[in-house]
């Protein structure tokens, strides 16, 4: 009997040679290597972006999805990794991305016109391999359209990046990849912050330099719009799904420490660059 089993086993292995590396090897839950996003709150919340897995970033318009993508691109290109962005509706802004610190020479930008092109381009890029991060931006495509993408497409993408160091990031309005996603983050916008010049502050002695716009709306804010600048906004992030387990053993979903988090939720701030990487020197600011 053992001889028959061994023979059978060898026949199965022979039949699957080249397709399945070790068919009888028990595949335990693997420790997933993660890479930081570059936003400390998200890194502590989700443990980073899983390599060899699919990460979904979902949320409505203006919720900070692109800011998270840009931050990830800054981080990956700073570490000399080659990245690809499949832009579903040609919405990427190279100027602001470069100002944020993205090394554009290491970014392959594919400008698509529809979801079909985006999915086929993603397929080709993943089959080609070698990228540190492949981001698929379907943010501007209606959720109804993305919902019609068959599940096996996401499954194929996941299989393509499995056992590779590639991070596959998907930006959309709603999470669609279901169990194919290793990490699902939902983002929501917090109120925007506005900055005022010193002249305004002098004019309105009761208003502090960095006061919030809602607090001064009654003071006829619109009369002073030219003395006001967008400073940034807050983004609330929530981990909807996580199968990552960082190499350092940081834990899984729910075990991350998040500053303002209750059950894996955190808030991070974004800042308008205005061409100054270190932030805006208010008194020196001149519109371009």
């Amino acid at each position: 009997m053992p001889v028959k089993l061994a023979a059978l086993r060898s026949r199965v292995e022979l039949a699957l040679a080249g397709r399945v590396a070790a068919p009888f090897t028990y595949r335990d839950r693997k420790i997933v290597e993660t890479a930081p996003v570059g936003i400390p709150e998200i890194d502590s919340l989700a443990g980073g972006l899983p390599r060899g897995g699919l990460t979904e970033i979902c949320g409505p318009s203006c919720s900070g999805r692109t800011s998270l993508l840009i931050s990830a691109l800054v981080e990956r290109t700073a570490h000399a990794e080659v990245c690809a962005l499949v832009d579903g509706r040609d919405a990427f802004d190279p100027e602001s991305a470069e100002a944020a610190g993205v090394e554009l020479k290491q970014l392959l930008w594919v400008r698509c016109r529809n979801i079909d092109q985006a999915l086929r381009a993603t397929d080709l890029l993943l089959q080609g391999g070698g990228f540190g991060l492949v981001a698929v931006d379907l943010s501007d495509i209606s959720p109804e359209t993305v919902r019609y993408v068959p599940l096996n497409a996401w499954f194929r993408f996941r299989r393509a990046v499995e056992d590779t160091p590639t991070i596959l990031m998907l930006l959309e309005q709603e999470a669609n990849a279901k169990t194919c996603a290793s990490l699902v983050l939902r983002l929501e916008a917090e109120p925007a912050r506005w900055t005022f010049t010193r002249e305004t502050a002098h004019t309105w002695k009761t208003v502090a330099l960095e006061n919030h716009v809602r607090e001064i709306r009654d003071a006829n804010f619109f009369l002073h719009s030219s003395a006001c600048l967008l400073d940034g906004s807050g983004v609330r992030a929530e981990v909807l799904r996580s199968r990552t387990q960082s190499v350092a053993g940081a834990g899984v979903r729910g075990e991350f420490a998040a500053a303002d988090a209750v059950d894996a939720t955190g808030i991070f701030e974004t800042k308008a660059m205005w061409g100054y990487p270190g932030g805006l020197p208010v008194e020196k600011y001149k519109p371009k």
Binding site: G64, A80, D90, A91, V110, G128, G130, F222, S225, P287
Partner: protein, 548 residues
């Protein structure tokens, strides 16, 4: 000192067979001349055995069913000769271009690199086979002996020093290429081979045949010495193919391109080079129906395109013919020739092959060859202008950039290797107190909007069917430029925080009624940060994009 001679028997036939490998091993006869006066000018051994004779016209030659009839191709002979020279330069830098079908190599000093002379000769035969040529190779201590041995003996012949006369003795006198007059005299004397000629007394031979007789006597004894006439190494790689019937479809064309690429890559490999650019010229059939469709009647007569060029610029030097064929196919799929093809000329710009040293601490990057193929495939899908690496322009014009070619070449990898440390350190410094930048998404093209103003400030907006109140505004930031051009711009930009009270995507109960929002506390209005601008040239409002 030793010399090797490489001789290609039936050179004209082999040149044609090299471009059409299925003919290998078959009886082939070449014809030349304008029909119906075309006649057989060359044939291979199998064709002679089948009964083909020189001067036969085409119809007579066609009666031999087993013999393939092909037109003589000077272009392919030129390419085959260039390949023969490449074969010589692949082994020795000192090469003489002795004849279209023969070259001579100086083997001095090569033993330490390639081994003994027999091994060098075997290597030459093997390389010739890779180039599509079946060659005879002979090694001797002097040039003429090597040349005559290669012409006279098939396969590999190595003549040790001092044995030239004995080895060449069995060759017919005609192998020494005497003039017709002397050949006739020698035949009358009964001198049939080199041994018989070498046995004649040289003084008497000189009296009867002059200096030519003395030269032939030296050649027959293998004692004639001369120096090598060096050929200048050429770095010109071109292959041509003339077609009997024009080709219109991509599939048969790809088959022919594959053959040319195989030949070109074999030549490049023989010289340890790779191609940095592949240029293909197609000679097109004139007055094809597509020309009629595309061109007006006047231009059809005068300016109808007769040639079509396609240049394949490679990010890294390559010589993988299969990969190059795939790339060329993708380019031709995207931009096919407008008429059937009559002749193909393919040239390669040579470059040193890529030598990549992987780094232990350098992140993996896409393989340049594979990446080029992937980029070409995606370019077929989205258009060539829509894939690449974005590059900022030296202008303040909004949303102005250009797409540059994306490449991860060796140089780029080196730069990445160097910059990785610096960037990493800078990045780590920045990271300590860094706040991520708010990203901007561009609407291409800009979305027309209607904006309600109050004392010059936007208070209410409508675009894409959505309506909302301006909660906060920053502006106007005036930008203008290129006023001296037709496409000059002048815009007033506004950053607006908008609270939408009507959106086609929101359910009906969320709509705004009588200035009051009727939504419950749970259904908060959708807010957004947008960049609007007033275009002074078009005198309209537009949405440039949104902060996300």
């Amino acid at each position: 000192m030793a010399f090797a001679s490489i001789y290609v028997p039936d050179f004209m036939v082999q040149s044609v067979v090299r471009g059409e490998p299925p003919l290998r091993g078959r009886a082939v006869a070449l014809i030349q001349g304008a029909p119906p006066l075309s006649s057989v000018v060359a044939a291979n051994e199998a064709a002679w055995l089948a009964g083909i004779e020189l001067g036969m016209n085409k119809s007579q030659a066609a009666d031999f069913g087993t013999v393939e009839i092909r037109p003589r191709s000077p272009a392919q002979e030129k390419a085959a000769h260039a390949a023969l020279l490449d074969l010589g330069w692949s082994v020795s830098p000192r090469v003489e271009d002795a004849a279209p079908d023969a070259i001579i190599l100086d083997l001095a000093g090569l033993a330490s690199i390639f081994g003994p002379e027999e091994k060098i000769a075997a290597k030459l035969v093997e390389h010739a086979s890779k180039l599509g040529l079946s060659a005879n190779v002979a090694v001797a201590s002097n040039i003429e002996s090597a040349l005559h041995a290669a012409r006279g003996f098939s396969g590999i012949t190595v003549i040790p020093p001092g044995e030239e006369a004995r080895r060449l003795g069995c060759l017919p006198v005609s192998a020494l290429l005497p003039s017709a007059e002397i050949m006739e005299i020698l035949e009358r004397w009964g001198v049939r081979n080199c041994a018989a000629l070498a046995a004649l007394p040289v003084l008497e031979l000189s009296e009867r045949l002059g200096q030519e007789g003395v030269r032939l006597h030296e050649l027959a004894r293998g004692a004639r010495e001369r120096s090598l006439t060096l050929a200048e190494p050429a770095f010109f790689f071109e292959e041509e193919m003339e077609l009997d019937d024009s080709v219109e479809e991509l599939e048969p064309l790809a088959f022919l391109l594959g053959r040319l690429l195989d030949q070109l890559c074999a030549r490049l490999a023989a010289r340890s080079l790779a191609a940095s650019t592949i240029q293909v010229q197609f000679d097109l059939e004139p007055s094809f129906e597509k020309d009629f469709r595309l061109l007006s009647a006047d231009s059809l007569r005068k300016d109808a395109p007769k040639t079509y060029w396609k240049t394949l610029a490679l990010p890294v030097p390559m010589r993988d013919s299969k990969m190059l064929l795939k790339l060329l196919r993708l380019h031709l799929q995207r931009d096919p020739p407008l008429a059937p093809i009559l002749k193909i000329t393919m040239a390669a710009d040579p470059a040193r092959p890529r030598v990549a040293q992987g780094g232990l601490f350098l992140p993996a990057s896409p393989d340049p060859e594979k990446l080029e193929l992937t980029v070409a495939r995606i370019a077929n899908l989205v258009g060539e202008a829509n894939i690449g690496s974005p590059e900022s322009m030296d202008t303040h014009r909004p949303d102005e950039f250009r797409m540059s070619r994306f490449a991860t070449s060796h140089g780029a990898a080196e730069n990445r290797r160097k910059s990785a440390g610096e960037n990493g350190r800078d990045h780590a410094r920045r990271k300590s107190g860094a706040v991520p930048a708010i990203a901007f998404r561009v609407f291409r093209p800009s979305v027309p909007a209607s904006v309600e103003l109050c004392e010059g400030r936007p208070i209410r907006v409508e675009f894409r069917g959505m309506r909302g109140d301006v909660v906060a505004a920053s502006g106007p930031w005036r930008t203008s430029g290129d006023w001296w051009r037709e496409d000059g711009w002048q815009q007033d930009e506004w950053d607006l925080e908008i609270r939408f009270y009507y959106s086609p995507r929101l359910p009906a109960e969320r709509s705004y009624k009588n200035g009051q929002n009727t939504k419950s506390a749970k259904a908060l209005p959708q807010c957004g940060l947008y960049r609007f601008y007033y275009d002074s040239v078009r005198q309209s409002w537009f949405v440039r994009g949104m902060y996300d």
